[in-house]
């Protein structure tokens, strides 16, 4: 056999080996760098997933380099798209026994909160939210999607259901003008800076916009918690401590993460924690 032939045969075998090995390793590396990395854990222990929900909530964070299923959606704040792509698929794994969400956000993005709440409700495993810090406005919608709401004793619920709105406009030759308002300031709308560049119809339209969304947010919170809506509507200008929130049925328990994990241990014994926050 000629040398050229021999080299060609050896090269082909070498390339084929590299291809079979490389393609499997490439996929494995992608999985290891994703929330699905737990699948290579052979211990068989039950898993508890812990997901922080913090910063600004958003529906979709625009990212022109978005690859379709990556972590970049959760690099700043928390997006519903991240929940859809990365958190919900984890629920298909039978080793995962519980989901714990640590909510610490003062966001007023109602649509994003509703989307995240809806995904939490679709997770078949038991879901628990622990409210930390000052949680308000739309973020309680997220919490209300879980089976159980725990509130840390120093945490507060603030301005539940409040919808904020900000319109900025810079006409030629003038400084930027701003119209900033919210549900709790709605009664001052006609005396606000909004009048400087919006006419009466536009202001009325803005008022309707805010009040419609406030009502829907309140309905979602009440419906998720099986509470009469009156229990929610009078909380717009209120700050509630954990014990007040418990008395009003807005949360189920006062406690913290460690107590929750002890409770899980008493139910399922040893378990592993998949902390999604570590991957951010």
């Amino acid at each position: 056999m000629k040398n050229v032939m021999k080299v060609a045969i050896l090269s082909l075998l070498f390339i084929a080996s590299l291809w079979f090995l490389g393609s499997a390793l490439f996929v494995k590396a992608q999985i290891i760098n994703s929330p699905d990395a737990y699948i290579f854990d052979k211990s068989g222990n039950p898993i508890v997933v812990i997901v922080p929900i913090e910063g600004d909530l958003s529906s979709t964070i625009f990212n022109p380099t978005y690859s379709g299923k990556a972590w970049e959606f959760n690099t700043e704040g928390t997006s519903a798209l991240f929940f859809e792509r990365s958190i919900y698929p984890l629920s298909k794994n039978e080793n995962i026994k519980e989901f714990l969400f640590l909510v610490n956000s003062d966001s007023d993005n109602g649509p994003a909160a509703e989307e995240i709440s809806r995904i939490i409700k679709q997770i078949p495993q038991p879901t628990t939210v622990i409210i930390q810090g000052e949680v308000g406005r739309a973020s309680y919608i997220v919490a209300s999607g879980a089976d159980t709401i725990v509130m840390e004793k120093d945490a507060n619920l603030v301005n539940l259901g409040n919808v904020g709105m900000s319109i900025h406009r810079t006409d030629y030759g003038t400084k930027e003008r701003k119209c900033e308002t919210s549900t709790k300031d709605i009664h001052t709308l006609t005396e606000s800076d909004c009048k400087s560049f919006l006419d009466e119809d536009q202001i009325e339209n803005l008022r309707e916009y805010i009040l419609d969304r406030t009502k829907i947010q309140q309905e979602i919170m009440a419906s998720n918690r099986n509470l009469p809506i009156e229990k929610i509507t009078n909380l717009l200008n209120r700050s509630l401590s954990a014990s007040e929130a418990l008395d009003r049925g807005l949360v189920d328990l006062i406690g913290n993460k460690e107590e929750f994990l002890e409770l899980v241990y008493s139910k399922i014994g040893n378990f592993k924690i998949l902390n999604i926050g570590d991957k951010k």
């Binding site: 090995l21 393609s23 499997a24 699948i39 529906s59 978005y66 859809e84 298909k92």
Partner: protein, 284 residues
């Protein structure tokens, strides 16, 4: 090459090939048996539903290449989306498309491109409205076969804005002026500096533009009404650039049901009678 070295290297490489092949197959088999949903994500070709992210504002390829057109970092190329969807629709493993909509709108040409694409593709195309489906967003959702929406989504803003650069009579360059089809479309629009423009040129532009945008808005309403099987008057009520909640859109028949991507996948699975998987695609 000496024969004995050749045989030695050949032997090693054949063993390596078998080893690599065994590793590759056992890795795939492990995923397929233990985590079929992950296997499908990386290796599955069949039974896919393609998510098309409309996360940004729709323009054409020409707009993107034109140095004089106004650009934002949210611009999406409608021509590329159309090309992508048409190519994917020929793939036998693809069972349909989900338009994932979060947009403030776009221009009328890109709207036509998307409408034609949706009409041309025979596979079902449904929409999931996220935070916003404004202007082109509501037309896009209306053209699709079914619309899932959040009760808190912003949807609507039906109307047209005409923009033109008019000669600056006191300096060089142009002064940009906008004419919206209704006052609710104009909330964010700056007023152009009329002291820099010939008043007769401005009035002429404004009068022509008003006719154009009002006619454009009527066409817009007609197209949505036809697509959603509603009367012109029913859509007209929410025209003039008004923005509805998703809840109101469902009540008015402009969207079908509250839901998200999981609900959209179930919609396809019930239709096909089997389990399907979502294929995520990049933003265009």
């Amino acid at each position: 090459m000496k024969q004995k070295y050749f045989h030695l290297v050949l032997g090693i490489l054949i063993l390596s090939l078998f080893g690599a092949l065994f590793y590759n197959l056992s890795f795939k088999s492990y995923l397929l048996n233990e985590y079929p949903y992950i296997y499908q994500e990386y290796y599955g070709e069949d039974n896919r539903v393609i998510i098309v992210p409309i996360i940004g504002d729709l323009v054409t390829s020409q707009d993107k290449e034109n140095p004089n057109s106004i650009k934002t970092d949210r611009d999406l190329d409608a021509d590329k989306i159309a090309e992508f969807m048409k190519a994917k629709s020929k793939d036998e493993g693809v069972k349909g498309f989900i338009l994932e909509i979060d947009t403030f709108g776009g221009n009328t040409v890109s709207d036509e491109i998307m409408k034609q694409t949706i009409e041309d593709i025979e596979l079902p195309i449904i929409s999931v409205v996220k935070d916003h489906a404004l202007s082109n967003g509501i037309s896009l959702s209306s053209y699709s076969d079914y619309v899932f929406i959040s009760p808190l989504s912003d949807i609507g803003d039906i109307g047209i804005i005409n923009m033109m650069g008019l000669d600056n009579i006191k300096g060089s360059g142009e002064v940009l002026c906008w004419v919206p089809s209704s006052k609710f479309k104009s909330v964010y629009l700056p007023q152009c500096d009329k002291s820099l423009i010939n008043p007769l040129v401005y009035l002429n532009f404004r009068d022509n533009a008003i006719n154009d945008v009002v006619a454009g808005e009527m066409e817009f309403i007609k197209a949505i009404a036809e697509a959603r099987n509603l009367s012109f008057e029913e859509v007209l009520e929410v025209g003039q650039g008004k923005i509805m909640t998703g809840k109101e859109a469902v009540e008015r028949g402009l969207a079908d049901k509250f839901g998200n991507m999981n609900d959209a996948l179930k919609w396809f699975e019930e239709r096909e009678g089997k389990e399907l998987r979502l294929e995520f695609t990049p933003i265009f």
